[in-house]
């Protein structure tokens, strides 16, 4: 029976799913309760579930291993791994990166200002870079206190999501 592992905060929750003889899914939750679920993908990216009689029409898309579940406007992110993925993660393949000294750009946009120079000290929460996107200036705060060791971008430069902007290392 396929087991799935959901990361919920610190906790890892174990689910299992099996398709029964009638074509329905038997889903066992972390408390050990088994639900009979009729699952249908009416459109690409859409999932309609009948858990017993409860009807839920969802949008479920996977982005980098995380499932984004949209239900009636509510957006929930769920980290779910199958057994193979969990083994790979345990072996360090494709695992999450440790939060490091690099500040990554959370958006695409244009660099407006970098108030700190290399070598200067910043406090966590101080504005460390300003990025313009969609006609608004967005102040990005330092993610940690420390010394600026590298500024990876120049004023006026276009940046994409995930680009390394500034590196702050412990003093």
């Amino acid at each position: 029976m396929p087991i799935y592992y959901v990361q919920h905060g610190e906790e890892e929750r174990e689910w299992s799913v099996i398709r029964n003889g009638e074509g329905l899914l038997e889903v066992t939750d972390p408390e050990g309760v088994t639900h009979v679920v009729d699952a249908l993908e009416p459109q690409p990216g859409r999932l309609h579930l009948l858990r017993g009689a409860r009807s839920a029409d969802l949008d479920v898309r996977e982005q980098e291993g995380v499932f984004h579940v949209l239900w009636r406007g509510h957006d929930t992110e769920v980290n779910v791994l199958n057994e193979r993925q969990r083994r790979m993660k345990a072996a360090g393949v494709g695992g999450n990166k440790e939060a490091g000294p690099d500040l990554l750009s959370p958006m695409a946009g244009k660099v407006v200002a970098t108030p700190f120079a290399v070598g200067e000290t910043v406090e966590e929460g101080q504005t460390i870079i300003i990025i313009e996107a969609m006609k608004m200036e967005n102040d990005l705060k330092a993610h940690r206190s420390g010394k600026v060791t590298k500024i990876g971008v120049e004023v006026g430069q276009a940046v994409e999501i995930g680009d390394v902007l500034i590196t702050v290392e412990d003093e």
Partner: protein, 508 residues
């Protein structure tokens, strides 16, 4: 009437204007920047012309290019929408010189209202009540600081040429003043090509209430009642409604008269909006006049039954305003929720990108003015507003309930939007009671504790587990690589295969 009109704008507002054009059997001409080749307004138009690269300053804002397209296409008039060239008097003048009708007021009115300092002087003369402390543009931060200290914090730094919250900063104390002042100047310069800013007293619990006006070329002017736009964040409106839940009928009448007086003071022509601050004691102050169609114009359309864009066209064509003030009536209530590509859980960061799936609400009294579609990309270069959701109800309560229903139907996948945030806001006692002011959203955000519904979370977890399982099943079936996305048909047929053998199941 015109036979062809150029719409010098993009996205949802361009489409909204073209819809009325099509209803009037007028051909529409779109302009687009290179990344907007795929944009919905290009697809909707009868003709479309590329006017340059992504940067507005090299495309949508280049007067000569827009006029060249008008000439090339044979358009007799230009509708500027909002933003971009809509409040640019040089553009209005250039149109006039080129013999093309600018659908909006004369350049004189744009100029008069465009500079807020000038506007305030004019309004003062016309007897329109003003917010205390309005002054001229200031260049020196220290001079501005002195002034701010004189009127007392908090103060507001505003772009003289501005609008839409750009180049606008609230400053609560001396320490942050100079940095904010310079930030505002930089933003203003960036957004409007004009860095002039001024400082005014900040009224602490104000409602932003604005009046829609329509004026023809023959001296007739009416107002179409108010809109309450107090649900704001960083001076960006989020939710608008009409009627204003706290305005008294006699205040409405007075403000309407003042709005008409304000419009007449600049010989206004076309559709415009006079913005006020409304205090809890029903006193009100002129803020500014927007000399163009407003983002939130649909809620006025819903309660009055009047197509504002059609009247803009008729007025620009020299027709008389046949609507009489005494015949106008507000029926029911309307609410608009602006759908932004932004992440409310991450400081409202913009969230441009590919929309993998969109499903818009519909049904009774629901209107969507949308600028996107499944498969479209929200570009990083322009405003993050991707659509507007507008609902009408017999009364305010019904309209709010309908808005909640419509939001629950709205699916935008691939990017992050503020749909869930709207649902949250609409459910607060503050909003339900209607006593919110323009400072309420930021205050709410500070105190906000997001409570997750355990049952919903568990259900969504289950959904993700099922989705993972269906993917794995499809992969096993197809022998695809572990990263492959299963074809929709596979899971669907999977069900069909098994489905035939099912009976009523255990439920009945």
């Amino acid at each position: 009437m015109f036979s062809k009109v150029l719409v010098a704008n993009r996205g949802e507002i361009a489409v909204r204007i073209m819809r009325t054009l099509r209803e009037m059997n007028i051909k529409s001409v779109a302009v687009f920047s290179e990344p907007d080749r795929e944009s919905i307004h290009v697809r909707y138009a009868d003709e479309a012309y590329c006017v340059g690269p992504a940067a507005s300053a090299e495309s949508y804002l280049v007067i000569d290019k827009i006029l060249a397209v008008a000439k090339e296409s044979g358009a007799e008039a230009i509708h500027p929408g909002f933003g971009f060239l809509s409040e640019n008097s040089d553009f209005a003048e250039a149109c006039e010189k080129a013999g093309i009708v600018f659908i909006g007021p004369r350049s004189y009115a744009i100029n008069a209202m465009g500079s807020k300092t000038h506007a305030r002087k004019l309004m003062e003369k016309a007897g329109v009540p003003l917010v205390p402390g309005a002054k001229d543009a200031i260049e020196d931060p220290q001079e501005a600081l002195a002034l701010a200290k004189e009127m007392g914090f908090p103060v507001l730094i505003k772009a003289a040429a501005g609008g839409g919250g750009k180049g606008m900063r609230r400053v609560d104390g001396e320490a942050e003043f100079v940095a904010s002042f310079e930030g505002a100047r930089r933003e203003a310069l960036n957004a409007f090509g004009n860095g002039d800013v001024y400082v005014e007293k900040f009224v602490v619990r104000p409602k932003h209430v604005e009046f829609q006006v329509l004026a023809d070329q023959h001296g007739n002017c009416i107002h179409l009642f108010e809109r309450d736009c107090s649900v704001q964040r960083r001076h960006q409106k989020i939710i608008e409604e009409t009627p204003c839940p706290t305005i008294l009928p006699e205040t409405r009448e007075k403000m309407g008269e003042v709005a008409i007086a304000a419009a007449k003071a600049v010989d206004y022509v076309g559709a415009g909006t006079v913005e006020f601050l409304l205090d809890v004691d029903q006193s009100f102050y002129f803020l500014e006049m927007n000399t163009r169609l407003q983002v939130e114009h649909p809620i006025t359309e819903m309660v009055t039954g009047i197509d504002l864009v059609r009247w803009q066209l008729k007025i620009a064509n020299g027709e008389k305003l046949t609507l009489k003030q005494e015949d106008l009536e507000m029926r029911g209530a309307a609410v608009e929720a602006r759908i932004y590509a932004e992440d409310p859980e991450n400081k409202f960061m913009p969230s441009p990108g590919l929309i993998t799936n969109i499903r818009e609400p519909s049904g009774p009294w629901v209107r969507v003015d949308s600028g996107v579609y499944s498969g479209s990309t929200v570009p990083v270069h322009y405003d993050p507003m991707i659509a507007k959701l507008i609902v009408w109800g017999e009364d305010r309560q019904h309209a709010i309930n309908r808005m909640q229903r419509a939001l629950s139907e709205y699916v935008v996948a691939g990017i992050t939007t503020n749909i869930e945030f709207h649902q949250e806001i609409l459910d607060t006692p503050e909003f339900r009671e209607g006593h919110y002011d323009t400072n309420w959203v930021p205050k709410y955000m500070e105190e906000r504790e997001k409570v997750e519904n355990e049952e919903t979370v568990a259900f969504c977890e289950m959904a993700a587990v099922v989705a993972r399982h269906l993917k794995d099943e499809a992969i096993a079936k197809q022998g695809a690589s572990s990263n492959g996305t299963p074809v929709n048909g596979a899971a669907k047929n999977g069900w069909k295969e098994y489905g035939r053998f099912r009976q009523l199941r255990g439920q009945i």
